[in-house]
Subunit: 328 residues, 2 copies
């Protein structure tokens, strides 16, 4: 993996090495400001009284989790927040704050940092959340680590992986397979070459979105288990099925490729079912409930008693694809 190469359009401005730590922090907090920032640690006051704190972290490495020629700096920031906040939502909690730690080479253009922070600030704003602290360091690789903090109020339990029960329905909020299709298109065409009509797939990969609050809504409506589709649909549901001691059966008709996924599959000579079943990175919220599908969710399957063979089935059969993201 080579050192990061920044787009030519950014090469004219100052670098982080030229500006130094405190100016770099100023650029970041200008784009994503919070009155809680600026001390040794941030004290979160906006959690509701008696709420529990919920925390998650993700580390993004340039060339591995994002590419500077595929994503704008703002998109990288947007995605870093979204994927962390999806983990908070997947507990049924409300995202309230984030911390940002960056390791960057000294030749990193300040324009990259500004764009990254603007994307972070934009996505945080959609959640009424704030960037409350962080760290900047020099290093050969460009590495971005975001920590999300959420608040879980009330007395209902959180939505863990281990609380799916036989007889429940499996519900989903968000698209499935779009992110992996977008990635395949970027690999084939490069960002500039992707035909315009595939934009929703590119957006799903470079700048995924969820409607803020769906996790809280599902918890209030009686959902018991939840996770997000980050590593791959079958992989993530398998974690839930294993932790819960159940089997999860997905209804193929409810997750079948739409016309856009089918078109991308034809264009690239790929089976769109691979994107759907093993793609990941959609950050779709996947939940189980005895009740009706909560607002914004649709039914895509059901929870049954465990079977010795498969943790997750599609139409009661072993899925055609079940691989997922590999960290190493």
């Amino acid at each position: 993996m080579p050192a990061p190469i920044f787009p030519a359009s950014m090469q004219d401005g100052p670098t982080v090495g030229e500006l130094g730590e405190f100016e770099v922090i100023r650029v970041i907090t200008e784009q994503a400001s919070s009155s809680l920032n600026g001390d040794d640690a941030a004290v979160l006051r906006h959690a509701t009284p008696n709420s529990r704190a919920v925390v998650a972290t993700d580390m993004l490495v340039s060339g591995r989790h994002f590419r500077l020629d595929w994503s704008t700096p703002a998109e990288i920031g947007e995605k870093a927040i979204l994927q962390n906040f999806a983990d908070i939502e997947a507990m049924g909690a409300r995202p309230v704050a984030a911390l940002l730690a960056i390791s960057a080479p000294t030749h990193t253009p300040v324009e990259f940092i500004r764009g990254l922070a603007s994307g972070i600030g934009k996505r945080l704003g959609e959640y009424s959340a704030e960037l409350v602290g962080g760290d900047v360091a020099s290093g050969e690789s460009l590495v971005i680590s975001v920590t999300a903090i959420g608040a879980l109020g009330g007395s209902l339990p959180e939505l863990t992986l281990g609380r799916a029960r036989p007889g429940q329905t499996l519900v989903a909020h968000g698209r499935i397979g779009y992110s992996a299709a977008g990635l395949a298109l970027l690999e084939h065409f490069g960002r500039a070459g992707v035909p315009e009509h595939f934009k929703p797939l590119i957006d799903a990969h470079c700048s995924p979105r969820l409607t803020p609050g769906r996790g809280m809504v599902a918890r209030a409506a009686g959902a018991t288990a939840m996770t997000d589709n980050s590593d791959g649909l079958i992989v993530d549901l398998s974690h839930m099925a294993k932790k819960s001691g159940v089997r999860i059966d997905v209804d193929s008709a409810e997750i079948a490729p739409d016309s856009l996924l089918s078109l991308a599959g034809e264009e690239l000579g790929c089976d769109p079912w691979e994107w759907i079943l093993s793609g990941g990175e959609d950050h779709t919220l996947l939940s189980t409930t005895f009740g009706d599908a909560p607002s914004g969710f649709r039914v895509i399957g059901r929870v049954t008693k465990s079977r010795p063979d498969d943790l997750v089935t599609v139409d009661k059969k072993t899925p055609a694809y079940s691989a997922g993201w590999k960290s190493f």
Copy 2:
């Protein structure tokens, strides 16, 4: 900065690339276990009711913040926790949990991860805190990001940088200058070559310690401002003086080099005052109070009205050294 070179003694075992993500996570959680770990996000239950959450993060880059030939993996883990928990203590809060994100090359020996996690688990244990989540990713550099979560109970305000007031005394918990002296010895001798009698200086650099709870004690005893000596004594006190709109005067007699620092200075031909005034990384807690020095703290100076020239003085004069850590 070259890719990390791991000690020869670790080369015989498996690498993280051979083991894969889930086994690597198992190795980590074996060394630093928590029942709160293992879901999309961790829900913290052990904060006291009505307490606020306090969060801080630090990113450590191999070759920049630590060296594999100077520190054992366990020491790197111990220091990563200590420096984050010092930030939590510096708000007057109680550290309760940590998140660990690691980016590591696929050739990283699993033995390194195990050692790192054992140091993390050991230091967390001293604080009755837990490792509640994290992320592992592959990347060219070895980068460790720790997020600390604390709980701040009761109605007293937190100890911010902006609450030092003229007439207060400046108090400190922990040594000052030891870490920088240790670093200078390592640069000169290498780890194996450092004379045995300098061990306290090496320990201060590679595995700094504070007595857990000093921040809470100071807050309860009436301290109002606090920070830790991470970037350099004068730099860190200057942040406090600036945010508070005051001047801070340090009494040279109270921070003067002891016999060990003087000996190291003679050995290396250095002025130990430079280590004391601009060294940083001691993570000494520096606080201001109108009352007596809280338990475990000693008086090292006083807060006076602001003056247009110096934010921080030593014996009312401009300090001989005032540089600090540079991130880029």
